[in-house]
């Protein structure tokens, strides 16, 4: 009797919980949601102008791959991996010429910043999807493990006061910041459209919160007027403290993917 009950229970469970394995390559663009805002102030003849630059750490084009397992066409678990393929951008503030300007005061950074943040992400997610004819919509949620290497290249004019006269020093500096995998939160909202029985076109909107923590920072390159200054620096490592340890990589991303379901059952 017990065996019969177990068999009946197993056959009932097996009928309703058939799993379906799927794979989904994707490509997308992410927009930094928490850029680091810096202000530079320039006062010329008592007229003040404030410049604002935004350093966007999570922004760029990335490739993704999802490996998932769907239960009863509703619940699913997924392993989401992403790698950035383009994350290079430049911001600049017009540099004041302190030699020609009279009655002038400048505070903050003036010059060009080239920023690149190469990111790898892994996110185990759980979700639920609702199907209606050929369309489906889903929400998924889980931790986001992110690792980033940031290369920041600065080009600016430093000013040296010599004999009551300002002399320009054309400076190029490159910093590299890196850290371990840092945990944040990821949520996705998406729409799917079945092209064929096994194939689905997926439009996905990702929200990632990850205030990335760096563990290492180093000056990789330093030159003034074309002459390397790296040998003149005693220690190229930069001290990491409470105020500079975080580089916010949070973003909103749009992804387009193709989902292939193995041995799909209707």
């Amino acid at each position: 009797m017990k065996r019969l009950l177990i068999i009946l229970l197993l056959s009932f469970v097996a009928h309703y919980t058939f799993g379906q394995l799927y794979i989904e390559p994707s490509i997308g663009y992410s927009f930094s949601s928490n850029p680091l805002e810096n202000q530079s102030e320039l006062v010329i003849n008592n007229k003040q102008t404030v410049y604002e630059t935004k350093l966007k750490y999570g922004e760029g084009v990335h490739l993704g791959l999802n490996l998932g397992y769907s239960l009863m066409n509703t619940f699913f678990v997924e392993l989401n991996a992403k790698k950035s393929i383009f994350s290079n951008y430049t911001v600049s503030t017009i540099e004041p010429d302190l030699q020609s300007l009279k009655n002038c005061f400048a505070y903050g950074y003036f010059g060009k910043i080239n920023n690149e943040s190469s990111i790898i992400q892994i996110a185990p997610l759980v979700g639920f999807q609702i199907q209606k004819n050929k369309f489906s919509t889903y929400v998924k949620l889980g931790p986001n493990f992110l690792k980033s290497t940031i290369i920041k290249n600065l080009e600016y004019t430093d000013w040296e006061l010599k004999n009551w006269k300002y002399n320009p020093l054309y400076t190029v500096k490159e910093y590299q910041y890196s850290g371990n995998f840092h945990m944040g939160l990821q949520a996705n909202l998406g729409i799917g459209y079945s092209i064929k029985q096994n194939l689905q076109l997926v439009l996905d909107y990702a929200t990632v919160y990850n205030n990335y923590e760096i563990t290492e920072a180093e000056i990789k390159y330093y030159e003034i007027d074309g002459v390397s200054q790296l040998n003149n620096i005693e220690d190229t490592n930069i001290e990491i403290n409470e105020l500079n340890k975080n580089m916010n990589h949070s973003y909103y991303g749009i992804n387009i993917g193709i989902r292939y379901t193995f041995n799909k059952k209707e």
Binding site: E37, K47, V50, G184, Y209, N211, L243
Partner: protein, 290 residues
């Protein structure tokens, strides 16, 4: 002859017109009855409902604390700017109460209008530089959030994916202090913008009554337009307008750096992001449910 022919034509035209009018009327009746027939088929699954829920928001992101004002302390005859920097700053954790009115078109599609109120629970932020310097942030917002829900029903329970966005108003008070010296500012903004999405699980208890649980993410952006000093450990009577009022603007270009003492101080507007994940439970009452 002419008037007779004209009269016959008139009769024919009138007859044709009457026939056309009758056909038009019939067509309209046919269309209306078809429409009603279609509606009556789907109306059985339509319902109007109200919801009340309580959620808790947990902050998912931090940012450097916005410098909405400079906190000054007068020690003797000297004036000092007190740094209150905090790197891991967020006021997105707190209680969120919601009430909503919704309409289900069928088992799959529903629309809701949510009224949401939020108050932050973590209010005190000690300065990075010293423990006796801190700020206290008291934030409230009231939002109207149109929401769309896509649901799937399994016997007595329904699971829905929902998406919302909307606008609201805020109230923010900040107290900055250094030992017994303090200043309290009241900040005003035009509006805030919120959006989010998540999952809802609904379990039917009685014919018209059901219990639901939600999990989702919420994002609210706040940008102040003005700030006003409302209380201080110093006498405000002798303070100038630029010491008591701040105006936040999107850009500062060629501004007279010697600010007018009788005008508010001008600062760049800084964004405060409230990013959170939330969960909670609520109750739903459906009217006219069949």
């Amino acid at each position: 002859m002419f008037p007779k022919i004209f009269g016959q034509r008139e009769i024919i035209f009138n007859h044709k017109a009457k026939t056309n009018h009758f056909i038009n009327k019939m067509n309209k009746l046919l269309l209306l009855s078809s429409f009603l027939a279609i509606i009556s088929q789907t109306i059985s699954s339509q319902e109007l409902y109200v919801k009340a829920a309580s959620f808790h928001n947990f902050s998912t992101n931090t940012q450097p604390m916005p410098e909405y004002f400079t906190f000054q302390a007068y020690l003797g005859s000297m004036e000092y700017d007190i740094g209150l920097s905090v790197n891991d700053f967020s006021i997105a954790t707190g209680l969120n109460l919601q009430g909503s009115v919704g309409y289900s078109f069928n088992d799959f599609l529903s629309l809701e209008l949510k009224f949401s109120t939020f108050s932050n629970s973590k209010k005190e932020f000690p300065s990075f530089y010293a423990e006796n310097r801190k700020t206290e942030w008291d934030y409230h917002n009231y939002c109207l959030l149109p929401t769309i829900l896509f649901g799937q029903t399994f016997k007595k329970s329904t699971v829905s994916v929902f998406v919302y966005s909307g606008f609201g108003i805020d109230k923010l008070n900040i107290i900055a202090s250094y030992n017994s010296i303090y200043s309290e500012y009241e900040l005003t903004s035009n509006y805030n913008f919120s959006w989010g999405y998540g999952l809802e699980y609904n379990l039917s208890l009685l014919k018209n009554l059901s219990l639901f649980a939600n999990i989702g993410i919420n994002n609210t952006n706040y940008k102040p337009t003005k700030a006003k000093l409302i209380s201080s450990s110093y006498s405000m009577e002798y303070m100038e307008t630029n010491q008591k009022e701040i105006e936040y603007v999107d850009e500062i270009i060629n501004l007279n750096s010697y600010s007018d003492r009788h005008s508010p101080e001008i600062r760049l507007r800084e964004k405060l992001g409230l990013n959170s994940v939330y969960s909670g439970i609520g109750i739903k009452y459906s009217f006219f449910k069949k």
